[in-house]
């Protein structure tokens, strides 16, 4: 493999590399710098980041604005609740089961939507209806705890059991590990594989993508499967941490929308955007709590803040935190590449037929 340092040929990439390294270093030592409750906050922040990121795989990269990822989140949570808490199956196995079920569901949903030629609006509406149906089923099915949910039972502890009772550091580092591995994996996928590189084309113009030999329906379904499968992991982690799972806690539309909105605010289609936005909202929540705002109102205020921010972002077309960051860095440091010479405007021949050009 060629020298990776050659990749750092623009100021933006160099700045980003520095920031990422610093952030990673900070994340690694963070639990040693703060009291245990704050480690829990850190865990939640990383969890928000993780589920925003996994949503973004289908939502931002492929442009499938799905409100069904909450079903994946819920599947991960219920999987560990049913398999591990009730039947003492190892939590990691439950995690994998959750991932597999969610991936299959995601694959099928995307296939169905493609087969029936569903456009973006109906995709959002349909996935919303589906997730509400799932919540309703969970609320009325004793297998899934109906309205009361399923409570934790178990005694094991440690990484092999994905559970820590007193010190949240275990959860924190596990989530950090997932986040780092998944981010690197997806980045590599997007850069090095035909599948990953085809996704922006599918997003922008599926017809052109198909004419470039991209198998649009298949890739969309695979992306959705990957996206929902990975989202399930976040559900499993939060279930182990909170130790109770019910339709009201893991199958709500609010969480489903938060994943979407978080990615958009951070910058849909970027790597870091969803992560930054996820951590940001956790910080905001903690900030509000520190002002002795009641916990019910904290979640209300953050929801309102989220909504207002994304509305303003979309209204003024600024594209999110990461695009703003990139524009800012470029403004301060320059682009680092010689701007290409624009060819002189010679006399043009030929008809601009139907005004289609440009």
């Amino acid at each position: 493999m060629t020298n990776p340092l050659r990749y750092l040929d623009t100021p933006l990439r160099r700045v980003n590399a520095v920031v990422v390294t610093a952030a990673l270093a900070f994340a690694l030592v963070y639990p040693f710098l703060v009291p245990p409750p704050m480690i829990g906050v850190g865990f939640v922040a990383l969890l928000y980041a993780l589920r925003n990121f996994t949503w973004n795989i289908a939502g931002g990269y492929v442009g499938q604005l799905s409100l069904s990822h909450i079903v994946a989140f819920g599947t991960g949570a219920f999987s560990v609740a049913v398999l591990t808490w009730r039947h003492e199956v190892n939590a990691w196995i439950a995690l994998v089961v959750g991932v597999l079920i969610s991936a299959v569901v995601g694959f099928l949903i995307s296939l169905l939507m493609s087969r029936f030629g569903v456009n973006a609006f109906f995709l959002a509406l349909g996935t919303l209806a589906l997730s509400l149906a799932a919540a309703g089923v969970a609320a009325s099915w004793t297998f899934l705890g109906d309205t009361n949910g399923i409570s934790y039972s178990g005694t094991e502890e440690g990484f092999a059991h994905l559970q820590w009772y007193v010190d949240p550091s275990g959860f924190y580092y596990t989530t950090l590990g997932f986040l780092v591995v998944i981010t690197i994996g997806i980045a590599a996928l997007m850069r090095f594989t035909h599948f990953g590189r085809s996704l922006p084309f599918i997003r922008e113009d599926p017809v052109i993508a198909a004419s470039m030999g991209i198998r649009v329906v298949r890739n969309q379904a695979l992306a959705m499967a990957l996206s929902m499968g990975l989202t399930s992991i976040a559900g499993t982690l939060i279930a182990q941490y909170v130790q109770i799972v019910s339709y009201e806690s893991v199958l709500t539309v609010e969480i489903g929308v938060a994943m979407m909105v978080g990615s958009i605010i951070g910058g849909a289609g970027t790597l870091a955007g969803p992560i930054v936005a996820g951590i940001g909202i956790a910080v905001l929540e903690e900030f509000l709590r520190s002002f002795a705002v009641s916990s019910a109102n904290v979640s209300s205020y953050t929801q309102i803040a989220y909504a207002v921010v994304v509305i303003l972002l979309l209204r003024f077309g600024t594209g999110g935190i990461m695009p703003l960051w990139e524009a800012g860095v470029r403004a301060v440091f320059g682009t680092g590449r010689k701007p290409p010479a624009v060819p002189e405007q010679e006399q043009r021949v030929g008809e601009l037929v139907d005004g289609r050009v440009g």
Partner: protein
């Protein structure tokens, strides 16, 4: 048997209210192609609006509804003018996320302002429940159904038999044609959106004495509005009415067989299937029905 009759009557009347809620969404969708995910939350504005005004008596109640409707219409106008308009020109899916987020913001705003769930007001009408052949209908429900029907008729009259209605329909058919004839399309869009939201708020006011309000109701009503529009939208305005009544009946009679949350889950699941099968039907056929068959200067019969 009387249970069935009772449920059917209740369902029918509730369905008329759903039709009213759906009509507003239908107008916005067919005229402007805007997907208003916040529509059910405007119903909520109506409900909380009337609740806050705390009317005592029938006329104050009507007055409160008018005020709440005006408020809802005003908010709708502002939303269209300042949030949605620029995005519509650009295309893309911003209106989807904007209206969805708007709904959530409204929900949590009411969550903060009215932390107590399930508030309602007592019967504001000057008559009590109506009983006949084993069927009892409460006054608010009777009135809501009747008033919804009246309002739907009024809207139908407005859209199909007035000059304003022709203008609105003209915008839905051909944007270029409308501009060409000198119609201020932006103003029409703003008014249509305001009208849709205002109708939703009125429905909310009518709904309040029947169903206790809580912020989460917004989402449920939004979905129901979409169900009504997607299923009924293939016909004219009246298709929406039929779909609303159908929804009300299905909901009421369905409660006989499947309890609470599972029944709702079934409804959503069925809705998902409908979406798969019908998405083309909504835009294509609805546009065909709402358009005038004669020229823009003549008022045609729909």
């Amino acid at each position: 048997m009387s249970t069935v009759l009772q449920l059917a009557s209740t369902g029918l009347l509730q369905g008329l209210l759903y039709s009213l809620i759906g009509i507003g969404l239908y107008l916005v969708f067919t005229v402007m192609r805007v997907v208003n995910f916040a529509h059910g939350y405007f119903v909520l504005i109506g409900m909380y609006g009337v609740l806050s005004l705390g009317p005592k008596g029938f006329l104050p109640f009507l007055g409160a509804i008018v005020v709440a409707a005006a408020g809802g219409a005003l908010v709708g106008y502002l939303v269209q003018r300042f949030l949605l308009e620029s995005g519509l020109a650009k295309g893309g899916h911003s209106q989807l996320v904007i209206t969805l987020s708007l709904g959530i913001a409204i929900q949590y705003l009411f969550q903060v302002l009215h932390p107590e769930p399930f508030e309602t007001i007592p019967n504001p009408y000057p008559f009590e429940a109506f009983t006949s052949s084993g069927v009892t209908i409460s006054a608010p429900r009777m009135a809501a159904g009747a008033l919804s029907l009246v309002l739907v008729l009024l809207v139908s009259f407005l859209v199909y038999r007035t000059r304003i209605g022709t203008i609105i329909r003209g915008c839905s058919e051909s944007l270029n044609g409308a501009i060409h004839v000198g119609i201020n399309v932006r103003r029409v869009y703003r008014l249509t959106f305001a009208l849709g939201c205002g109708l939703a708020a009125i429905a909310g006011g009518l709904l309040l004495p029947i169903q206790p309000v809580s912020p989460a109701l917004g989402l449920e009503l939004t979905i129901k509005a979409f169900i009504v529009v997607v299923i009924g939208g293939a016909g004219s305005l009246w298709g929406t009415v039929a779909a609303g009544v159908l929804l009300g009946l299905a909901e009421a009679l369905g409660s006989l067989y499947a309890p609470g949350t599972f029944a709702t889950a079934l409804v959503y699941g069925l809705f998902f299937l409908v979406i798969l099968v019908r998405p083309q039907g909504l835009v294509v056929r609805a546009a065909a029905r709402i358009t005038p068959r004669k020229s823009l200067t003549k008022v045609g019969v729909g």
